[in-house]
């Protein structure tokens, strides 16, 4: 169990990196709490696995130090760091029985056979592997195999943190849920620091207390699932979290009105009144906008964008492009001044007209400049 301190970590796979783009990890400076469940979320190639390997010691970072509970472990090899890692697919010693697989890390460290046995039986019980203990590991189903990989980490009582590298990729969807619950249960039982890499937002949001969103080698936000959803600090978080992602509209603030621009930055005239298309803002947003520099963008979650089938005062007229039924809800795609927006509707909300009127609830409007949230 340990607090993990990533002190100004950067990593490049190139020997003599010159520019920023040569770095797989740009600059990570963070402290992760002891006993926390963290999910590292991001698209492929954003540096998640690099960061994980730096924590586990499989990689030594080009720059920066890494500390476990204040102790510098940067140059320590993985076997000395007391971390456990579960990989994308089950890594097993095929010729060994389940018992021997679980006992392997202990035997390598010279524990006597009695304490090995006690500990293995204990872990097998937690992971529900007891019935298979004396079977060959190779013959088991993928979820049991993944539990063995996990067990090899848990079996060491001194383990500081468990790292998961997309561990549910090869698991059947119906077992994913079960295994995820098991992981949560183990986390609560053993109070271990868990770090869980995934590109699946559902997995990240259900598993972790804190989600660490990574994008192009940087951590763009660390927060609870709710924070990420309501206040994405970066446009990428807006896109990536939530399904569908956040809507963005380029705009210019004029007084307390956000005037929508087209893709060339030209203000759009409302076809009926010859006035600019405007969305009213509150004082907080207006003052944020006045301090910001660069192109402003207005963001709103599809869940909060209100869609009216008939004209409503203050709402903006948009053309319906598509209506998708997702079972218990619908996603409507509309075009407003050349921009595509999506909104979430209740199942029996709306059947389909050509034009709709969009209302932007002021509490759910977020403003972004240079891709970052204004706050």
């Amino acid at each position: 169990m340990a607090q993990i301190n990533l002190n100004k970590i950067a990593h490049s796979y190139i020997k003599h990196p010159t520019g920023d783009s040569d770095y797989a990890l740009k600059l990570i400076d963070n402290i992760w709490d002891d006993g926390g469940a963290y999910a590292l979320l991001g698209p492929s190639g954003c540096g998640k696995t690099t960061l994980l390997n730096i924590i586990s010691g499989l990689l030594v970072p080009s720059k920066g130090r890494i500390l476990f509970d204040g102790k510098d472990v940067t140059d320590m090899p993985p076997e000395k760091r007391n971390i456990a890692q579960v990989f994308q697919f089950p890594v097993l010693y095929d010729t060994m029985s389940v018992f021997d697989n679980l006992a392997f890390p202990l035997r390598n460290r010279g524990f006597d056979e009695d304490s090995v046995k006690t500990r293995v039986l204990e872990i097998a019980e937690i992971l529900e592997l007891t019935p298979f203990l004396y079977k060959k590991a190779a013959g088991l189903a993928a979820d049991a195999k993944q539990k063995i990989s996990l067990g090899r980490g848990l079996v060491r009582s001194d383990v500081a943190a468990i790292l998961f590298d997309e561990p549910l990729t090869v698991i059947d969807p119906n077992l994913k849920w079960q295994l995820r619950c098991k992981l949560k249960e183990i986390h609560e039982q053993l109070k271990l620091t868990l770090i869980y890499v995934t590109h699946d937002q559902v997995e990240a949001l259900t598993f972790a207390d804190k989600v660490v969103v990574m994008y192009e080698g940087e951590i763009v936000q660390i927060g609870t699932p709710q924070e990420l959803f309501e206040n994405p600090s970066h446009k990428f978080v807006g896109y990536f979290i939530g399904s569908p992602g956040m809507n963005f509209l380029p705009c210019k603030v004029d007084g307390n009105i956000a005037v929508i621009q087209d893709s060339h930055g030209v203000m759009i005239k409302n076809n009926t009144s010859a006035q600019s298309l405007g969305i009213p803002l509150n004082d907080t947003l207006t003052s944020l906008a006045s301090k910001a520099s660069g192109q402003l963008e207005l963001g709103i979650r599809p869940l909060y964008l209100k869609v009216h089938p008939t004209e409503v005062k203050g709402a903006l007229k948009a053309k319906v492009k598509a209506l998708q039924d997702h079972g218990n809800f619908k996603i409507i795609t509309v075009i407003l001044a050349g921009h595509t927006l999506r909104a979430r509707l209740d199942e029996d909300d709306f059947t389909g007209t050509e034009d709709v009127w969009l209302e932007f609830p002021v509490d759910w409007i977020r403003l972004f400049a240079k891709e970052r949230l204004l706050k």
């Binding site: 993985p78 697919f89 392997f104 390598n108 079977k135 060959k136």
Partner: protein, 289 residues
């Protein structure tokens, strides 16, 4: 769809059937045919039943040749398989070193078999050969045409030089196919290099090693060209292996009947042993512990 349309598919595989028939089935049938007849000349043949088989099986020279063959194949496998794995483990994993060592390894495999024999005749000549004159030079009298032991050593050296690279290439391919995560997990588990070899590399190489073992067994059991060129089966009969003896009967003495019976027995031995090897290796590491 009617039945005729379904049967059209057979036309597509017909060429393969024809090739297999001419290259394998017809010759095999001819051999079976010869093995149960006494042939005096075209159109003059007598059915003799299992007589040739009985004669061949009772032939002490065949027994000796068979024993030599087992000894030879056994020694060759015992040296080549571990040596091949060892070299594969030591070879660089990437960069120019990997390409270079692969090319060097492939060289002996690219040389025609009878040329191999010739190369080694020159190489081991006691007077001008690099190897032969060197051994003589350090005070050990060396002449593989005179000493049976030295003839064997030379043959085995040649065979190891010629064919270990095949084992190396197969083992190397097997090693490269092991996902990096296994080695990372082993590192985290604190496994020693020996444990990594025993529990990861060796089990993961089982497939390619089965192939290597089968190929090397069959090839070494069938060896002909190299000993024929290098020792001609001598000195005496000490390096007369099954194939050399078989050729002596068939071509030297023109005893087609016994030679055909001999071929079939030879064929069955290889088939049986290959099957056994395959079964043993496939079952290794399976089932409950």
């Amino acid at each position: 769809m009617n039945k005729w349309e379904d049967n059209k598919a057979w036309f597509l595989v017909l060429p393969v059937f024809v090739i297999v028939a001419f290259s394998a089935i017809l010759p095999l049938m001819t051999v079976v045919n010869y093995s149960i007849q006494d042939i005096f000349g075209p159109g003059e043949r007598v059915f003799v039943g299992l007589e040739w088989f009985e004669e061949v099986l009772a032939d002490p020279r065949l027994h000796e040749a068979l024993m030599r063959q087992f000894l030879f194949s056994g020694l060759v496998l015992l040296i080549e398989i571990p040596l091949g794995i060892g070299i594969a483990l030591l070879m660089p994993k990437k960069g120019w070193g990997a390409s270079l060592s692969l090319v060097l390894m492939a060289l002996p495999l690219l040389i025609p078999w009878n040329v191999i024999g010739t190369i080694w005749i020159v190489f081991t000549r006691p007077d001008i050969g690099l190897f032969g004159s060197f051994i003589n030079g350090i005070g050990i009298p060396f002449d593989h045409t005179a000493s049976p032991i030295q003839a064997w050593i030379t043959l085995i050296l040649m065979e190891v030089w010629h064919w270990t690279p095949l084992v190396v290439l197969l083992a190397y391919a097997g090693l490269r196919a092991i996902p990096e995560a296994y080695f990372q997990a082993a590192k985290i588990d604190g496994a020693s290099a020996w444990a990594v070899f025993k529990y990861i590399q060796l089990p993961k190489m089982r497939g390619v090693l089965t192939i290597a073992l089968l190929l090397r067994f069959m090839d070494s059991f069938l060896i002909y060209a190299e000993p024929f060129v290098l020792t001609g089966g001598g000195p005496g009969n000490t390096t007369t292996f099954l194939s050399i003896y078989l050729v002596k009967i068939a071509v030297g003495q023109f005893d087609l009947g016994p030679a055909a019976a001999f071929s079939l027995i030879y064929f069955l031995i290889i088939l049986l042993l290959s099957w056994l090897f395959y079964q043993v290796l496939q079952n290794a590491g399976k089932g409950d512990a």
